[in-house]
Symmetry: D2
Subunit: 317 residues, 4 copies
């Protein structure tokens, strides 16, 4: 089932599991797929920026995509196909869609500066992959150093009917959501799904500004799912209460560079990943950092039992 | 009283108050000085990056420094003198010290890349201002795009005896504090005060890693002071409880660009600044953003009464 | 006499002369002013990027501007007023115009990315200095990392009637001149003087594309003047012959960082500057580099006698 | 025959030939291989930055490498394997060496800043490809925005015995060659081949500073070969005379972005490439730019007959 502009809810950004020696860990892919399905995600995004995609060669990337799609067959799979060139992008996009992906995700290359350079880039990307593949536009200036105004996003969306979703992770980005939703009200922008990233650092208010859900990799997707749901139900205080309980850990996991190590550490602790290893060049956690994460988990667990990872809790679970 | 490597506690980063038409608001400078003194800050840093220093001409900068120093005469005043060139840096540094400043603060210029370029820059800066002026080394890669390893910081500190403090705001930066403190344990780094910035986003753990205090501009310096104190007293849970209550607002105030507008909005609400205005180019808050901040304040106030800004509270206060 | 869109010919970018100890060398300012007048420049630009402007404090900058204006009273003086903030820009712009400058020159700040950010910046700059001061728009992406499309330049020019000239130094930039001239033919862009910079590396073809002249600091402004003149006379081969004779040295002088040292070395050899010194941080020439420049001069002199700096030639001159 | 630190002479950077529709043009690969062999190159570098390598998918890259190696069997083939991640780098490096390449070339990823980050990166790269593959270190700060001091280059070379050559294209870079050669004289740096790039803009002096030859893609490799030879023979004036005759065209071909279009246009005119086409995103030449190149060729031809491309010359040739 292909992705449409009506997509909503929570799409988890999946890490790519590796063994300690750097080989791909297929069993953990299966566990991740099961985990995201069981907690109630609507979709999974693989090979995103936090999925260590650039560390894979072409054959590995395709194999990972196929394994996720086969296992998580109840979820919509979005595949990050951003690449330095269009040939590699096309190759992976076609392989992914043939394997059953719901859509692909494309980020701009870091060299783009002017409005015209940016809009031209996405036209050429669509030329390259074909206009029949639904795709997600990734807007992540902090990491990509490409700044897209709301008007530029509108041009990209209106130029390219196959663009069905914005992965919003500008920082700051709340006004951007409001501006885009206002474009839709005034008729200048067609329907578009907006899921938000940035490690969920602003999910509480992003939902209130009009986001359709979350697309990020926080190690407790259950929280994302609940905050998205509570917010849509209008239960503002409850949404913020749950979000705030997690925020100290969200913040810790959102650190540049080291964030992925935190995420993998927690998913390893939760029994989903066999190893927290990253491929080189990667980051690791010191003993003190691990103890800090453990402390944060224990504090989250006072409000959200799902973060309880004490031996007893595990035994009970 | 000049700054030494024994400096500790909380140094507030002062915003520069402007009238709505962009003129400097001297009365609000006085109120800021009184406010920081009354809540118990140890020092104030003026003309920092969040102090809109580059928007001032030379005469304005000197006038602001002098007014802060005269009014906040119980506090140590650190003056940001970072400049594109050394002549302007020296002029402001000398004027500040003559007026009674405790130290100056210097950030690297954004073009510096290699380790040698960075260490040479600071040697030349000290040559320019004179080796008798104590100074604070600002390490803020996210904004300045200059990356200093712990070993480079050590070289700068060991090369320049007048460097007495590190304003630490790397992101991530926890391991950096630990590494620098370990350098001191192994005898390769002399004593150095480390105060942390980054809007206090990691103050809870920075204190535990060995920071001496905070140097940042969060609109509730009372919280910074309390967290620094509780942490030094070993009251870990209490420190985190207070910190976590503020974190949703800290996070909101830490947004790039719009953060200063949040900070000035809250300080205006608190009656310290007559106007939240920034000089151009500046950021402003939409009505919705203001309502979001108000909501966050009301949530903080459930734990920390000082954030209670309801009309009744104001009347009572 | 204020600068208008009819400005043409050669404007020399003046270096700022320093003594070996870093003090400003007023006598060399006078010699520079005389030199540019005698060789037939139409104007002089002071405090440009190659004029070490950021190394001056405010008082020094004003003093240099006034001295150039007083001495070079037959030339139009353009003053670089680019600054991190508008207050310093306004202060220097007003002081310069009061002293008799013909115009000011403004470059964008390096943080600007989107088309709207760029056009907004220049509107605010004009608000700051006042709409009655003629100004030159500097387009220098290699150094400033701000990319302005021809359409953005057109918006800036059409938004701001006081913008009378483009200092063109995009790289590559030939098509940009053609596009802007075509905008004028189709009526969408008003008259605008275009002088080209970039160390004159493409002056030969820039003139053929429609430039009105040169604004750069090559140490032989006589060559710039002649190439501009020959090109306007339609003497294509003669223009290229002269240009090509100088190109090996132009290329050597155009090296990033070290270029200014070459330029000052040659102007020192020519007897215009008392010292080739730069303020710190600056570049210097090794003995081998000086010998390379000397060799290049001797080769230029085979075609252009003015580059002959052998002792005999000096004696004869 | 694998590349060693004794490599010298001229290695042409090969463009990747495409048909007008973007397909790879194998016949033109063969003609390029023959052309470089016939004019007397010592080697060819394929899939360099100017070889549009990022626009190829993995299978295409391997196919191109194999075709070049098979056809240019008298030349040493260096293969650019720079990649965002080590898996893709290893895959291409192994495929290339198995096919008979002489070495691979590795550039740093653009995110590297500190000296340690840079040296660590190359250690990890060697771990990834294996320490038995000879490799060329590419130092190209203008494009890659990674600045390596001579001391950092020395550390990389001394850390990694399989590094046999520096592709030097810093700008400015003359003192860097001298410093590295002095390191060798003082015994701190082992023997290392240094070939220079940067479009040959400084080849004349680079040879005099101690370079072993050229590795660049100027459309007249014959000139590179001759200048390298003349310089080694100590025929300084003759080397400069030939170089200077080409410099106006070298300079035109060295323009950022548009340079590759010039290079392919000339190689197309010379009958080597069937089409000057680039894959998207690419640059093209306007009619006026083509006329400018033609004019430059006619001027070069006054000194160097090989640049004569008039119909008669072709008929004669």
């Amino acid at each position: 089932m292909k992705l449409t502009h009506q997509a909503a809810g929570t799409f988890a950004i999946a890490p790519t599991p590796f063994h300690d020696d750097g080989r791909i860990d297929e069993a953990s892919i299966d566990r991740l797929a099961d985990f995201y399905t069981e907690v109630g995600c609507n979709g999974v995004t693989v090979l995103g920026i936090m999925g260590e995609a650039p560390k894979l060669d072409g054959a590995e990337a395709e194999a990972i995509v196929k394994r996720f799609i086969r296992r998580a067959d109840k979820l919509q799979i979005v595949v990050g196909v951003s690449a330095p060139g269009f040939a590699a992008m096309r190759t992976l996009a076609h392989a992914s869609m043939e394997a059953g992906a719901a859509a692909v995700m494309i980020a701009p290359t870091p060299n783009l500066r002017t409005d015209d350079q940016i809009t031209t880039y996405f036209k050429q990307a669509v030329d390259a992959i074909g206009s029949d593949i639904p795709w997600v536009l990734q807007d992540y200036p902090l990491t990509l150093s490409v700044v897209m105004t709301p008007a530029v996003i509108r041009r990209i969306v209106m130029d390219n009917p196959s663009c069905v979703m914005l992965k919003h992770e500008d920082w700051p980005g709340l006004e951007k959501i409001t501006t885009l939703r206002n474009f839709q009200k005034d008729g200048s922008l067609r329907p578009l799904s907006i899921l938000t990233g940035n490690g969920a650092m602003f999910l509480d208010f992003e939902m209130e500004r009009g986001a359709d859900g979350a697309m990020t990799g926080y190690a407790f997707p259950e929280m994302l799912i609940d905050v998205v749901r509570l917010s849509k139900q209008g239960k503002r205080d409850a949404a913020h209460d749950l979000f705030d309980a997690h925020l100290p850990l969200i913040r810790y996991e959102q650190q540049a560079g080291v964030g992925l190590a935190v995420r993998k550490y927690v998913l390893h602790k939760r029994g989903v990943l066999a190893s927290p290893a990253q491929r080189k060049p990667g980051s690791t956690l010191s003993a003190q950092a691990k103890a800090e994460v453990d402390y944060l988990l224990s504090r989250v667990a006072r409000v959200d039992k799902r973060a309880n990872m004490s031996p007893q809790a595990s035994a009970a679970g």
